[in-house]
């Protein structure tokens, strides 16, 4: 039988993100002192290392040393991530606006699909936005109905690991730590390219040109 450590190792090696939402046991295990080191030793044998993002909210496996083949993998991965950014950000903002609480989606935010859907259906601007988002290549919806679009978007998000559906009978989704990772990525790009995104948004709000 496999112990907890083996189970976590397997998850990490299959490229999963471990956070409090997706696998609380594993997350707590990694948070407990000394356990992370044991996993690290085993990962090192396979040229992997335990990496964490969002102030230790998310754990994943990273390469320990980078040769050419690893760099190639990372490059394609990066291109994928950067092409996903716009659809994901638009979706995050749509959920935030439609939920009416002005609180951005973060790890652990529950999203009730039926409530969200009815708000979007009642507001033509949201419905239009959803149609735009769902037709991005990332989500790849071909549906013309709001129902089909939103279901496809959430299905894709669950596949990609951004959302979790704890109960298959209920249309309730919970955002995972991967969302936090996404914020970190945007933050990183913002800082590295010195885009000063927050200032841009502030200026736009003052000019009244944004939403």
């Amino acid at each position: 039988m496999m112990n907890e450590q083996g189970r976590i190792l397997e998850r990490l090696l299959s490229g999963d993100f471990i956070c409090q939402i997706s696998d609380e046991d594993a997350w707590r295990f990694l948070k407990t002192g000394g356990n992370a080191d044991k996993i690290e030793i085993q990962l090192n044998m396979l040229n992997r290392t335990l990496a964490s993002a969002a102030e230790g909210d998310v754990f994943f496996a990273a390469y320990q040393s980078l040769g050419d083949p690893e760099r190639k993998v990372l490059s394609t991965q990066f291109q994928e991530i950067s092409s996903h950014l716009v659809p994901l950000v638009e979706w995050l903002l749509l959920v935030q606006q439609a939920s009416g609480t002005d609180v951005p989606v973060t790890q652990g935010s529950p999203i009730r699909l039926t409530e969200l859907q009815s708000t979007i259906e009642d507001t033509p601007a949201f419905a239009e936005q959803l149609a735009k988002i769902s037709h991005y290549k990332l989500f790849g919806s071909t549906s013309v109905s709001t129902d089909g679009q939103i279901k496809q978007v959430f299905k894709r998000l669950t596949d990609l690991g951004y959302m979790l559906r704890p109960n298959q009978d209920k249309q309730i989704f919970i955002a995972t730590g991967k969302v936090e990772h996404l914020y970190e990525v945007i933050k990183f790009i913002d800082e590295t390219e010195s885009l000063s995104l927050a200032e841009q948004a502030d200026n736009a709000v003052q000019q009244g040109s944004l939403i």
Binding site: S75, Q77, V86
Partner: protein, 406 residues
């Protein structure tokens, strides 16, 4: 006087209960909709000091005292007032304590009792205000300022609450217990009220306020982070709108790849079943029995099994070559028709020297006759010659048949 007070108070409370609907409507909506209630009722409520008109052309509102009563009893989170005027309350306490001591010194016991009860009332009111204020702050923290929707408003509310907390803490510093203990001196009641009760509530309030302060700070931090995220997202979209061809540099080409983008790809693939493991046998068997795939081997092309074109045409009638016996019977029938005379089968048999078994011949004649259609049968008559079986009755042994035309 006391009786009058009692009556007036009861009258006021009755008015409150009689017009409870009206009062609650004003409490919830803020102002009175005068068209909904009779002017007489409104007038009487104004006279009793429950409603008032702040300005000549303003609408009627609830008096603050009534509003506070409701807010306090209903623990309504809308009430955001923090009464921080502890200094004046303390000054009042000190004065009352002096009155009490003076009355005791002059041995006016009735008066001193009145002062003491007044004093206890004030002390308890002060402690209640303190605990109420703390409760108010906590309830606002607990629902994260749920009464305002936008993050910016929450941040402002949080800042207001923080200033109220520091105000309260500043006021609490005015409690000087050495002074109070001097005033109380050796009077037991005074010591109990001024020192024990007040100190108890003081220490609890300061303790809870420090927790409140910490929580408010962490909430503020969270709100700011949320606001920062929203800005980040909006700013990103704005940036992408303004420069649609923006692509971040591929950080994986850097000599030091940031950990954020260093995600190892999946290397674990499902394991393969090991059929030689005895302990897995049961499981594997279950799996195998659950397999529903039909496994048809691919056969080579078989020309004879391939589809052929089917030609539909009139089938030629099948004719069997009749054997000689049947032909002989037909010839026998024809001779009867030609001659029109009766002739037994055996006579015909001898005339034509047929080489069949005589018994078979007889059977064939009978069969030939019965093989005819009913219409044809009716032209012929077949008579059987023979005798009954000598031993077994009911059995007729045919020795010959005779055929003729009817």
């Amino acid at each position: 006087m006391n009786q009058n007070m009692h009556q007036a108070g009861v009258k006021l409370l009755n008015a409150l209960s009689r017009h409870a609907d009206l009062i609650m409507q004003v409490y919830l909506s803020g102002v009175l909709d005068e068209s909904k209630f009779s002017p007489k009722v409104i007038d009487s409520l104004i006279k009793q000091g429950i409603l008032w008109r702040p300005e000549a052309d303003a609408e009627l509102r609830l008096k603050n005292a009534v509003r506070q009563l409701l807010e306090g009893s209903l623990q309504d989170e809308r009430s955001r007032q923090i009464d921080a005027n502890i200094g004046s309350a303390l000054a009042g306490l000190k004065t009352l304590a002096q009155h009490y001591k003076e009355a005791l010194q002059h041995q006016r016991f009735a008066e001193s009792q009145a002062h003491l009860s007044d004093l206890s009332e004030h002390v308890y009111r002060l402690t209640e205000t303190l605990s109420n204020n703390v409760r108010l702050l906590f309830s606002r923290i607990n629902n994260e300022f749920g009464y305002v929707s936008s993050i910016d408003a929450k941040i402002r509310e949080n800042q207001l609450a923080q200033s109220q907390v520091s105000e309260l803490l500043g006021q609490l510093e005015m409690f000087q217990f050495d002074e109070l203990s001097q005033i109380a001196a050796s009077h037991r009641e005074l010591r109990h009220l001024l020192i024990v009760t007040l100190q108890h509530s003081f220490s609890r309030a300061t303790q809870e306020l420090s927790i409140v302060q910490a929580q408010l700070l962490s909430l503020l931090g969270r709100f700011r982070e949320l606001r920062g995220r929203t800005r980040l997202l909006k700013g990103f979209l704005l940036h992408m709108e303004q420069s649609p061809d923006f692509v971040p540099v591929n950080y994986c080409g850097l000599s030091q790849v940031p950990m954020l983008f260093n995600q190892a790809h999946s290397i674990i693939k499902p394991a393969v079943a090991d059929v030689k493991r005895v302990e897995h046998e049961l499981e594997l068997q279950k799996l195998v029995s659950a397999i529903r795939t039909l496994n048809r081997p691919q056969k080579p092309y078989q020309s004879e099994r391939a589809a052929h074109e089917i030609v539909v045409e009139q089938q030629s009638a099948v004719e069997f070559k009749e054997d000689k016996l049947k032909q002989a019977v037909e010839a026998y029938f024809c001779q009867i028709i030609d001659s029109g005379e009766r002739l037994t089968a055996l006579e015909y048999y001898q005339q034509h020297q047929l080489d069949f078994e005589p018994e078979a011949w007889l059977y064939q004649v009978i069969g030939g006759y019965q093989g005819l259609t009913l219409e044809e049968q009716s032209y012929f008559a077949l008579e059987t010659n023979g005798q009954n079986h000598p031993v077994y009755t009911g059995n007729f042994v045919i020795t010959d048949v005779e055929l003729g035309l009817r």
